[in-house]
C-alpha cells in the first residue's frame, strides 16, 4: 500500500456516499479490500466519523457551488472588460 493509494482511498470517502456507507458498516474489511496495510486499516478504523461527515458535506457543497459560478465568472469578465475599456479610453485621451 502506498501513500498515493491511501490518498485515493480518502478521496473516495470524501466524495462518494456509497463508499462512506460501506466503510461505515465495516471499516476494516473495506480498508483491507482496498489493499491497505493493517496499520493503515487501523488508522482508518479510528477515523473521526463526525469530522468525516462534516468534511464530506463541506466538499459536496463546494462542488455544488461551482455550477452557478459561471455567472460570477461572467460578471468578473464584464467588470474586468469595463476596467480595460475605461483604461484604454483614459490612455487614448492622454495621447490625443
Amino acid at each position: 500500500m502506498s501513500a498515493k493509494q491511501f490518498e485515493a482511498f480518502l478521496a473516495r470517502l470524501y466524495v462518494d456516499a456509497d463508499s462512506r456507507a460501506r466503510f461505515r458498516a465495516n471499516p476494516l474489511a473495506e480498508a483491507k479490500n482496498a489493499g491497505l496495510s493493517n496499520a493503515e486499516s487501523k488508522a482508518l478504523e479510528n477515523i473521526d466519523w463526525v469530522g468525516l461527515k462534516m468534511a464530506s458535506q463541506g466538499f459536496a457543497n463546494k462542488r455544488e457551488l461551482r455550477r452557478p459560478r459561471s455567472w460570477f465568472s461572467s460578471l468578473t469578465d464584464r467588470l474586468l472588460r469595463l476596467i480595460s475599456f475605461l483604461s484604454d479610453r483614459v490612455r487614448q485621451g492622454r495621447g490625443s
Binding site: A11, A43, L44, F59
Partner: protein, 299 residues
Amino acid sequence: MAGVAAAGAETMNAICDTVGIGWRPELAAGILDHHDRIDLVEVIADDFFGEQRRLRALKTLSAQVPVVLHGVGLGLASASAVETWRIERMAHLVESISPLSWSEHLAFVRADGIEIGHLAAPPRSDATVDGAAENLLRASRIVGVKPIMENIATLIEPPGSALDEASWISKILSASDCDLLLDLHNVFANGLNHGYDPKEFLRQIPAGRIRAIHIAGGKLISAPDGTQRVLDDHLHDVPDPVFDLLEEAAALSLNPLSVILERDGSYPSMESLLAEVSQARLALARGRAREAERIEVPG
C-alpha cells in the same frame, strides 16, 4: 498606495507591512473606488486560466493595483506528482502578470482521478512531506518563482497522520525552501476543532518563513454528535481572536507581511471591509511595537 487613512498605523509600523483585499467581482467597484486605502489585491489564479480576454483585463488591473496571485487547484501537498500542464498554466499566468508573489495551499484536491472539489488535508506523514517537497521544487522550477504555501482549515483530523500540523508544515517548508502564507482563521478554526492553542501553534511554526497572512471569518456549526465546530466559510466578519493572532504573528516575525482580507459572500458595505483593513493595520502595528520592545530590551 497606503493612503492617508492608514498613515497613523503605517508610521508605527517601520517594517512596511501591507494590507489588501481578495479581489471578487462583487467587490471590484468598491476596491477600485477606494484603492488609496488598499495596498494590494489578491486574485484567484484559477479564474484566469486559459481565458485570454480575462487575462488582458487582469493585466490592466495589475497595472493599476499591486496584485498577488492565489491558486486553489494544484493540490501540491500530495504524495502524487502534480501534472506538469497544471503547473505550466500557473507559470503562464505568473509570466503574463508579474505578480508580487504567487501562492497555493498545503492540500490535496484530487487523487487517482477523483476530484474532491475543495482543499483536503492529506495524511500528515513523511510520505506527504516528501511528495509536497518534490511538487514544490518542480513548481518553483517551472514557474520560475517559489510559491508561498498556505495552511488550510480542516473539519477532520486527517487519518493516517504521524505528525502534528505544525511539525508537518515546518518540515515541508524546510524541505522545499518555500515561505508560508499563514491563514490565521484556519489556525483559529483548527485550534478550536482539534483542541490546540492557536497561539502555541504560532510559536511552533518557523516565524522566519511567514511572508503573507490571510484573515477571514467563519461560523460555528453543530456537529451530528451535538458538539460545535468552526466552519471557515469566509462569509462573516473577522473575529477578534483572529486580530489577536495577527498581532501575535507580527510580534514573532521580522519579515514584512502582506495581509489579505478574504471575503467570499454575504458582502457587507465597503466601509465595513475597510474598517477591517484598518483593524488589521492596527493589529500589525501593535505586534511590531511588541517586537521592537523585545529587540530593544533583550531578555
